[in-house]
Symmetry: C2
């Protein structure tokens, strides 16, 4: 008699063998999930992911040799539907941010109660993204700090607002790498007209050439489909 609902398989990657064994037992005793494998080596772990395609990978990011984040990224690049739960010794906001950014579905501290880990596993396996509330606060603060500069830096007026709508169209095409001829063709106007517009754009943005104009546009939220730089 077979079960229809396959039990989720979990792969553990942690350089600390003791810790590895502890988690394995915890999962075996407290949950119904299968342990697809355990390893103390990140590279081996990645290969195991390829081989067994577990539903979940629990990985320690604080490993000496291979960077845990890098391992996560490589697993994500495989494009499988393997979810990743990060285990970390530190509640470093930057680390959390980066882990979540590259696709981790959860992040729990080693110091947290085992019940918390079990809960996180359940949540992540059920398709949710899970961060303990303490960490999620840290995450949000970091998130906002990351975006702060660009928003507050706009205390100085945005020169883009002085552009006419036509000039905006021209600039848009500039930011797509078009030359004069290309822009003229796409807007059905003469090349000299384009030059006029571009010159006016230069004046208004106080730049000297198209590259600087494009850079200004990109760095000042042009296209409103907000491109953003996050400087960590």
């Amino acid at each position: 008699m077979r079960e229809f609902k396959k039990k989720a398989r979990i792969l553990l990657i942690d350089d600390n063998a003791d810790h590895l064994r502890g988690i394995k037992e915890l999962i075996s005793i407290e949950t119904g999930y299968d342990i697809a494998g355990t390893t103390t080596n990140a590279n081996i772990g990645i290969n195991l992911v390829k081989k067994y395609r577990p539903e979940l990978v629990i990985i320690d990011v604080n490993m000496p040799e291979k960077d845990g984040l890098q391992a996560i990224q490589e697993i994500e690049k495989l494009g499988l539907d393997t979810r990743i739960l990060v285990l970390s010794g530190y509640d470093d906001a930057d680390l959390i941010f980066r882990a979540m950014k590259i696709g981790a579905k959860g992040y729990v501290l080693k110091t947290m109660a085992s019940a918390q880990l079990i809960y996180a596993i359940d949540e992540v396996l059920s398709g949710k993204v899970y961060l303990p509330s303490a960490l999620s606060s840290r995450f949000f603060e970091y998130f906002q700090r990351s975006f702060k500069e660009e928003n507050s830096a706009s205390t100085e007026e945005n020169l883009l607002t002085y552009l006419t709508s036509r000039e905006e169209e021209v600039l848009e095409l500039l930011t797509q790498g078009n030359n004069y001829k290309g822009i003229a063709g796409k807007l059905f106007i003469s090349e000299t007209t384009v030059k006029t517009h571009v010159n006016n754009i230069f004046q208004k943005l106080q730049v000297n050439d198209r590259t600087q104009a494009v850079l200004y546009a990109l760095n000042n939220g042009f296209g409103k489909k907000f491109r953003t730089k996050i400087s960590a």
Copy 2:
């Protein structure tokens, strides 16, 4: 006899006058905070913030005339230590994401229990960033989707990897808007050498001019202090 600890003052901005009154009463009855003012108009609200500098602004983002997000941004630009709690009718992930991005410290739905609102107010006033867990899940999913493309898009090889270290330096300066002369001066090499490098860069990146090269660099994670585009 005066209290030493000043009671936090809260400003309410909501185009729905009934709702405004309801929240006002709720806060008066259930909390010890002062209502610094209430208004149905976003622009007036911004002026009230300037005038009274409340510790907290509760603002409805679903307003017809002035965009709520824009109002938030303008309040943030004032650079005061006024925290913003967003009130919204929709649990739109994009809206949540954008609100938090521009500095909102909390986001609660109008449909949520009033106890939830009170709790959010307390949390935000105590300096935390607060999202109800249901919304925070949505936020994380949106967050990860936003960053997904750039991470997985690197399936197709990144032409930047073919650049030599010198070419990278030159490209870096290109992305800062330098012309040949500027680059030559900064690298202490001749202008013709710069041209050679730039030409090689064009070949390797398969582009026709400096602007396209810069755009390629920016869109393919050049500068490793990870610039990122978030296409909503």
